[in-house]
Amino acid sequence: MEEDLKTSVKGQILSIKDLPTLPKVLDEVSRLVQDPNANTDEIAKIISRDQVLSAKVLKMVNSPVYGFPGRIGTVQHALVLLGFNVVRGIIISTSVFDMMIKAMEGLWEHSLGCALAANVVARAAGLADPEEYSVAGLLHDLGKVVAAVQMPELHEAVSQAVREQDLRWFEAERAVMGFGHDRINAWLARHWNLPGNIREGMSHHHSPETAQLYPETAAAVHIGDWIVRIYEYGTGGDDQAAVLSKKALDMLKLKLSDMDRILDEFAGQLAEVSDLDMA
């Protein structure tokens, strides 16, 4: 029974045709792509704040049509390779949520916060290409968004379990469906040919030690998720305290005492973005 549910959910998840986003970032990017003098860096900076738009450009540039699936892991590179016309096409064909806006705002802030935090962690750990850790952080809860769009009833059942049984969202997902958004993330990332490090960051942030190829990405996203919950910026769907895995710190050769510096750095960056309202 559980396997049947998983198969049918997977089918529904992967058949997603129209993934909406929140209006604020979309409006801003829409204005920019009307301006022929707008430069790619500017557009990339704004798209990098929105998990849905970022997912869309990365999915497109990693599709077999372009001939290099699974190679591109930053929004900046994706935009350069797609070109202005294609990016404008993506933007004008993207719709906005007509419901759930309030619920989604919290998730958008949480994702943006996690992107910043994962980036700070990666830098502190001296890892190469820290921008890719931001992307993994930004997309770490994308499965929740896609589930909300494709299976609103299940999404509501999870939400109810969170409220009534005082569970974390992740626990509620497993109680209701038998699997969590980490699994949904893995399906999406593989189906969209996202690079392996982004995929494992998305699908192993709850248990970084199980990541096969890119444990650093999974660990950085895990710690990022923990940090953003401490600061209570946005919400991942519940208000439970998060658990920091000691293993994740070990994997990045970070000590608990390093966290002071990391938290300070994160707080500074958060201050820069937190006065942007998402909707």
Partner: protein
């Protein structure tokens, strides 16, 4: 000179026993745009066709000695003639039964009664489409050699100021040897995208990008913008290309392979070299070949640098 969509006069063969059709078709283009040779029988025309292929073949399905489909198959089954556009002329009743267009590989068909204007438009379109399809690089789909040379010649004929940049990749071969052709193709697709989008980002500028083949690309830009374009291509390529290597090689910044002599050799990551030739003011190129030979000399200079770089033609301008 009459208005023409073609770069030179086109030679066409019409295989038809129908004098009215011959009269109508030959009257649609002035002689200096398209010249028709009419054959009333099919078989006799075939040897001519193979010896001296025209630019267009129009076959009437009313031929008494051979079917139009058979003529088309003869032409299309030989790789050296495949690119010749073939148009079949049918009677309405020929369409009463269905055709297997996978077997009859014509490029288009016309149905009697023909309307002159429409027939001319359909034939022109078919020919241009065939040229584009033939010349496009099969991997990147960018215009190939014929279009590149045509475009250079066009710039020269119009007395335009232009800069012509030749790009290729250093250490592409060692990458291919280590990672295989399909990984090599990924890099070529990426390079094509980088060049195309960099050039197109200059809004409102007449420009052109072509793919000579393999890791050789060409772009044409106004002279005052070309250096900035080169800078951007180099910068973007260098930031993206490491991601096409496996993590270990990327971290090391080089690939290690064993050559045929059994010696271990180290190769840097791929880089892009660009040689730019100008045609401006007093120093104008006289033909496309001249540009290529100057560029080859510059290329050598660019190649002395293992990193990505561009070299501008410094002759008196």
């Amino acid at each position: 000179m009459a208005e023409t969509p073609f770069s030179r006069r086109q030679n066409a063969f019409l295989l038809s026993p129908d004098p009215d059709l011959a009269k109508l078709l030959t009257g649609l283009w002035p002689d200096e745009v398209m010249r028709f040779t009419v054959f009333e029988r099919g078989r006799r025309a075939i040897e001519h066709l193979f010896n001296d292929p025209p630019d267009l073949l129009v076959v009437d399905n009313r031929l008494p000695d051979i079917s139009g489909a058979e003529v088309a198959t003869l032409v299309k089954s030989e790789n050296v003639y495949r690119q010749l556009p073939v148009i079949l002329v049918l009677d309405g009743s020929d369409l009463d039964h269905s055709w297997d267009w996978d077997q009859v590989e014509v490029d288009d068909f016309l149905v009697r009664p023909l309307r002159g204007e429409e027939a001319r438009a359909r034939v022109n379109l078919t020919m241009l489409r065939a040229m584009r399809a033939l010349d496009a690089n099969p991997l990147s789909k960018l215009p190939g050699n014929t279009s590149i040379i045509q475009r250079i010649q066009q710039c020269i004929d119009r007395n335009e100021d232009f800069a012509l940049a030749y790009c290729d990749l250093d250490y592409f071969k060692s990458f291919n040897d280590k990672y295989g052709f399909s990984r090599g193709d990924e890099v070529l697709m990426m390079t094509a995208r980088v060049i195309v989008n960099t050039i197109r980002a200059f809004a409102g500028v007449r420009s052109f990008v072509g793919h000579v083949g393999g890791d050789d690309f060409v772009f044409i830009m106004p002279p005052d913008l070309v250096e900035e374009a080169c800078r951007r291509v180099v910068q973007t390529f260098d930031s993206i290309v490491p991601h096409f290597y496996d993590a270990e090689d990327r971290t090391r910044g080089s690939i290690v392979s064993v050559d045929r002599q059994g010696e271990t050799r180290t190769f840097p990551l791929m880089a892009v070299s660009i040689a730019v030739v100008f045609s401006t003011g007093a120093r104008r190129l006289s033909h496309a070949g001249e540009a290529a030979s100057i560029a080859m000399g510059l290329k050598k200079k660019a190649k002395e640098n293992p990193k990505s770089c561009y070299v501008l033609d410094q002759r008196e301008r």
